[in-house]
Amino acid sequence: MPSVGTLAFDEFGRPVLILRGQESKKRLFGIEAHKSHILAGKAVADTLKTSLGPRGMDKCMVSPDGDITITNDGATILSMMHVENEIGKLLVQLSKSQDDEIGDGTTGVVVLAGALLEQAEALLDKGIHPIRIADGYELAAKVALDHLDKIAESYPLDLKNLDPLVNTAMTTLGSKIINRCQRQMAEIAVNAIMNVVDMERRDVNFELIKVQGKVGGRLEDTMLVKGVVVDKTFAHPQMPKEVRNAKIAILTCPFEPPKPKTKHKLDITNVEDYKKLREYEKEKFTEMIKSIKDAGANLVICQWGFDDEANHLLLSQELPAVRWVGGPEIELIAIATGGRIVPRFQELTADKLGFAGHVYELDFGTTSEHMLCIEQCKKSNTCTIFVRGGNKMVVEEAKRALHDALCVVRNLVRDNRIVYGGGACEISCAIEVAKEANKIATIEQYAIRAFADALESVPLALAENSGYSPIKTVADVKSAQIAQNNPSLGIDCLNTGTNDMKSQLVIETLIGKRQQISLATQLVRMILKIDDIRLPGESEE
């Protein structure tokens, strides 16, 4: 009686209650617990399986408020699934950590974990202890990772010739809906990264790349703006819509009379006070405008608002101004234009101004919507990817896909070793792991062999999604890999006629793959070690 196992009986046959509310609490342990975990894990992985690869399908997510998201991105699907099962939640986190660390391969990692769990089920049925399975997986993962390092190739990283990078980005984008303009998007992603890359530290600061979307137009209109795009307009409708050679004052102080921070009360007791106050107020406004003028600025960007009077003063002084610009945007503008963010008018000097060659408003369609585009900045290493698309879902999906592509290119900059995609490296690892398995004397052997089988789940899913007979295709490729001793043979998803991923240019980063295998193994080990689940019961109210 596993579910009531905590009941003990005293000598009169009355149950002794050990835990409060014991009857209503749910408990699952032993082999039952393992089985239920594996089932849940498999269910999540099955959902994602069909999204894998260039021929994978999308998922349509309906949010609690009824909004629609259509996506192919594993991490996004899982995070919006509202999974309740505990093991399901672990898989959601697995995908998220792959997303945070690598940015791509979020579907693959879940599929792999699902396959490992599935294999573990068969081993459990054979009577192998979960810990032995976990240890075997650990050994196998080490073998696979070593093998990955061996077959990895160093990739030419040349700032003059970006083609290889573009090809990698294209592999990432291949599975997304925006693969209609795969090449263009890949080039945008690579150019964006190259714009901000720090070759000495071999790192990329993502803060400098902003991805902004706007519904309308078409995907092909997506462009890389070497500057900043802000969803704001000039404060006064009659300010010029275009400023050339802008010297920008970036302010975080409002156009208002100063507010002392300490609590105070200013009492007006007679008419003189009142008049003085009036004068003071007026003076302050002119002073503020004057300090901007004196610094030589011809464009004001302000984090706060300014009232009508200030607005008009700015207009009459021919100072175009933008108000209510958000914090992150103001920082971006400051970085891009090389200006300093000025918190007080007194501190405004000429050397704190930012510079941009061209600032103008963009118009869209029939609605009177505008965006402000700041281009030709002094320090042009910030950039904005401006995504257009036929509807809201496409734009959102394109943004996610571009994020993935950006991550992949950044990973290549960090570590330029690559492996071949299309299931090639998984098959190669599977062969190697299976070979190693035979050398192990203990029962971990079975677990290692199972690991090899699980690795093949990725090429199997790829083949299935592409409409091939999965087992036959993978078997063919596997035998070809052994016969030709060529680890770059994979599944020909797009039916181009060759299995060689090297010539098809299906390239993935080594760190991405390594991360997938080690994260999936880690998680499965953790799940296998759980043998007891307790759930709080329904409260009896």
């Binding site: 596993p2 579910s3 239920s36 089932l39 849940a40 959902t47 069909t50 021929r55 399908m57 999308d58 998922k59 349509c60 997510m61 309906v62 609690p64 009824g66 629609i68 259509i70 699934m81 309740e84 099962n85 809906i177 209609r180 519904v215 309308g216 078409r218 006064h236 409708p237 009659q238 507010k259 002392p260 009360k265 200013l266 007006i268 007679n270 009142y274 008049k275 106050l277 009036r278 003071y280 107020e281 406004f285 009508d308 009077e309 607005n311 008009h312 003063l313 207009l315 009459s316 118009d363 869209f364 369609g365 029939t366 009177s368 036929g390 509807n391 809201k392 879902m393 496409v394 409409g467």
Partner: protein, 542 residues
Amino acid sequence: MRGDLTTALNPIPLYKPGGGEEKAEIARLSAFAGALAVGDLVKTTLGPKGMDKILQCHMGDGPDAGRLLVTNDGATILSKIGVDNPVAKVLVDISKVQDDEVGDGTTSVVVLASELLRETENLLAQKIHPQTIITGWRKATSEALRVLESIAKNNSSNLEQFRSDLMNIARTTLSSKILQGKKDYFSKLCVDAVLKLNGKTDLQGIQIIKRLGNNMSDSYLEEGFLLEKRIGINMPKRLENARILIANTPMDTDKVKIFGARVRVDTVAKVAELELAEKEKMKDKVNKILQHNCNVFINRQLIYDYPEQLFAEKGVMAIEHADFEGVERLAQVLGGDIVSTFDTPDKVRLGKCDLIEEIIIGEDKLIKFSGVAQGQACTIVLRGATQQILDEAERSIHDVLCVLSQTVKEPRICYGGGAAEMLMATAVSQLAVKTAGKESVAIESFARALRQLPTIIADNAGYDSAELISNLRAAHTSGKSTFGLDMENGRIADMIQLGILESFHLKQQVVRSAAEAAEMVLRVDNIIRAPVRQRERDMRHH
């Protein structure tokens, strides 16, 4: 062993209660059902003989409560029906984007997308992989757009011809709307209005004022500007050679803006003094305004009695509470600055117009500014018997203005009446014949979906669509690429002679977004629902 049984028989709950997923075939079924339902819903409004829909808004709270809406506009219908099906929402979204981007063709885009999905049902039954269909569609889309571009004509260099093109486009757009009876009249109205904008797409300069009463043909285009406000009391109701100061400034009491300031006095006498000082301040302000040498003062905010009285004494016309849009528009029309401080009278540009007068339309008094400096703005005054007619007329006029202004920007034109669709369908069919592999089936299906649009137009008009469409197809195959449906006489005819033209940009956008949306829906093989957020009832009112 009750515990064992429960774990064995209960499936493991993966989702929170209320959530769940639909997989593969079932997901696709619900996707298609949604798309087809939406398509069929708006289908009957397509074309010159399309029907209208009545929409009744929810009873209850909100500004639209219980309102009745009669419309022919796809985007309006779809935005009001509140669909629940996820795929239907995608279609609603594309029609909204089409509305924002081009302004018209909102029905066509939804119908085309849903027809494409209808075709897929058959293709999937033939076991063709969705991704193969998508590949085929992409080829078909680019072929369709290529051929559309090859036939598009640009007459913008010839002004005379361009104007008549615009007239034709306006007439074509209007022919499916409530205004079709007066389409010549309204086409002229709209073309005049748009040409005044000098190529700008910003429609803010064109104001539409609706007034109940009279006949629709009493609607007219007002050169100049109408403001739905009253002139203050004791002020001249008619003014020639107006010099207008447009302002946005508080004219009640000028608040002291310094933080923390407050008035604290100990005697009543001092209150009176302060009040006087306040009055003084307002008087100063008025004097400063008067130094601008203006004879009309228009403020965005309220003007209180005291300053109004001061203005009246000086014989200056003061108009209060012209809301934000009104002020911006006025500034644009009259060519003046919007002013908030009054210390530099020499720098401020005053707005000018020849005549300001109060006029009466129906029962309402409006202020009319005529002979304005910049002729870019104008007002269309719509008259009609019921509120519904007026609303629908406004939507129609808006559609036409959008299409026209977009055409001025992208002046290429193509042929309406199903000619463009048939042309694309013929080209895509030819591509299908030339293509090897399963994709050709998908390409052919794209052509069929395109051909559905003229079919629906003919069906809606009550003609024998099978006969007409095959005649039309034969005409196109034999090279008469300007032939389309003549819905007045129920036959096919040359669209150039009938003058049924449409904007190239519009057609292009329809094909593009419909294909994109259909592709998006087709890629979905799984619909995952999150549990619906429980809304807690607001207990404050009970």
